[in-house]
């Protein structure tokens, strides 16, 4: 039964059975427990309290930081001077000794050994310095050259890139450009002829000579009389890229790298020029 009527009424509403049960305390505590518990807790708390008191707030004497630097410097100076004195005393006390007159005789001794050419180490090594401890099979050197020759013949033939002579390289380049120019000129002249009845005599001669050269196939023969420098100058004056012209003229299609190789290796063009031996020809020819 509850003293609180509201709680009793509530409980009766939920369960008359439970409301009828005494709510008296069935548990018990040892005699004097609460007094002892209070003493235990206070003892523990006092321990905490004294531990807290044992840690005072950190303080420094008044003016401590103002004099700190000077104090440290004074201590450093004192320790240095004390250390110096101790080192000085140690320095004067020699631990090792040398024979009497050792340093007087030392220069002369060194000079005489240099002059004799027999330093202590070399005196020991001198007798053995020409002895080779290693050996080779008998007749090795006699057979070596023959063996190398035979192995060389077994090697697969190296890739050969056929190159034109340097002099003809420039000629082919110039011929390619000039042939193109001549072709364009002829087309231009033919167009003009439709507009003007009579071309000039000089241009007619040029066209006649050009047709003759192309028909007889002796363009190379004509260019062979020109120097490399003249051809390079001609190409440059006509706004041509000498390197590009050379590459176009000397490399066969089958020797050109695939497009993918330019993507995978940005030195592909350099490598090709090196293979063709025409890189920086402008510099070498000038």
């Amino acid at each position: 039964m509850h003293n609180n009527r509201n709680i009793q009424a509530e409980l009766e509403g939920i369960s008359p059975l439970i409301a009828g049960i005494s709510n008296r305390n069935v548990y018990s505590v040892p005699d004097g427990y609460f007094e002892a518990m209070l003493a235990d807790v206070l003892q523990t708390v006092q321990h905490f309290s004294s531990a807290e008191k044992a840690i005072p707030g950190f303080t420094v004497p008044e003016g401590y930081f103002e004099g700190l630097a000077g104090s440290i410097m004074n201590r450093i100076k004192t320790e240095i001077s004390e250390e110096s004195g101790a080192l000085q005393a140690l320095r004067s006390a020699e631990t090792y000794t040398v024979p009497d007159g050792y340093f007087d005789a030392l220069p002369g001794s060194i000079i005489s050994r240099i002059q004799s050419g027999k330093e202590e180490g070399s005196v020991l090594l001198e007798p053995v310095k020409h002895i080779n401890p290693y050996r080779v099979p008998a007749g090795y050197f006699e057979e070596l050259s023959a063996e190398i020759s035979s192995r060389l013949t077994e090697q697969p033939p190296a890739k050969v890139i056929i190159m034109q002579k340097r002099s003809s390289v420039f000629r082919y380049a110039a011929a390619a450009v000039i042939t193109g120019l001549m072709g364009l000129s002829i087309i231009s002249l033919l167009n003009n002829r439709q507009n003007t009845e009579k071309p000039s005599i000089a241009m007619t001669d040029v066209i006649t000579d050009a047709n003759k050269m192309l028909k007889e196939g002796d363009l190379e023969k004509q260019f062979s009389s020109l120097s490399d420098a003249d051809i390079v100058n001609y190409l440059e004056e006509n706004g041509e890229d000498v390197n590009a012209a050379l590459v176009a003229s000397v490399s066969e299609d089958k020797n050109l790298p695939d497009e993918e190789e330019y993507i995978f290796d940005d030195k592909t063009l350099d490598n090709l020029l090196n293979e063709l031996n025409i890189k920086d020809n402008k510099t070498t020819t000038n």
């Binding site: 369960s15 305390n25 609460f34 209070l38 523990t44 708390v45 905490f48």
Partner: protein, 183 residues
């Protein structure tokens, strides 16, 4: 009568270092029995109740200085006692190697091992029935049934809404009735 000083006065004295220990002694004396029995009904054994109660008061000593006076000291102490009891029971569960298939829970065994246990008395049957409740619901039932605590205060102690507490208490009574009738 120092014991009858109200909680606000005790807290003021506690904040003064000169009267701190005296104030704390009065706080313990004022609440020790109520808190002990609340803890004891939760953990059953006296030794366990004693450990929980002492640890709880030491925590109170350490944190009372920062206690926010917008809640009552009485409510705060009950909250700490309840939480410490629940924590203790959780730790006991973890340490216990008894399988959940075992018929008797450790708390039931502790009740039955009490020197005054009498299986024929309804009061002891009631204790066995209470231990069958889930821990939080057991706290709700004990605070209402034994401490006769208003739902409003229980709400502050357990940080649960009054409606939820009423429902929880109702279900707890029904479970206990069922256990006593059929258990």
């Amino acid at each position: 009568m120092a014991e009858h000083l109200d909680d606000k006065e005790l807290l003021l004295q506690f904040k003064d270092e000169a009267t701190r220990e005296a104030a704390f002694t009065r706080i313990i004396k004022k609440y020790q029995e109520k808190l002990y029995w609340h803890i004891r009904r939760m953990v059953v054994e006296h030794e366990d109740a004693n450990d929980v109660l002492q640890n709880m008061f030491i925590k109170v000593w350490k944190s009372l200085e920062n206690f926010r006076e917008d809640s009552q000291l009485y409510t705060w102490l009950y909250r700490i006692a309840t939480n410490e009891s629940l924590t203790f029971l959780q730790q006991q569960k973890k340490r216990s190697s008894i399988s959940i298939d075992d018929e008797e829970s450790p708390l039931t065994n502790k009740i039955k091992s009490d020197d005054h246990f009498d299986a024929n008395k309804l009061e002891w049957k009631l204790q066995l029935a209470i231990q069958k409740l889930p821990e939080k619901q057991r706290a709700v039932f004990n605070l209402r049934y034994y401490e006769e605590m208003p739902y409003e205060e229980m709400s502050r102690v357990l940080e649960t809404s009054e409606g939820a507490l009423k429902a929880s208490y109702h279900h707890a009574v029904k479970k206990i009735e069922e256990y006593i009738l059929n258990g």
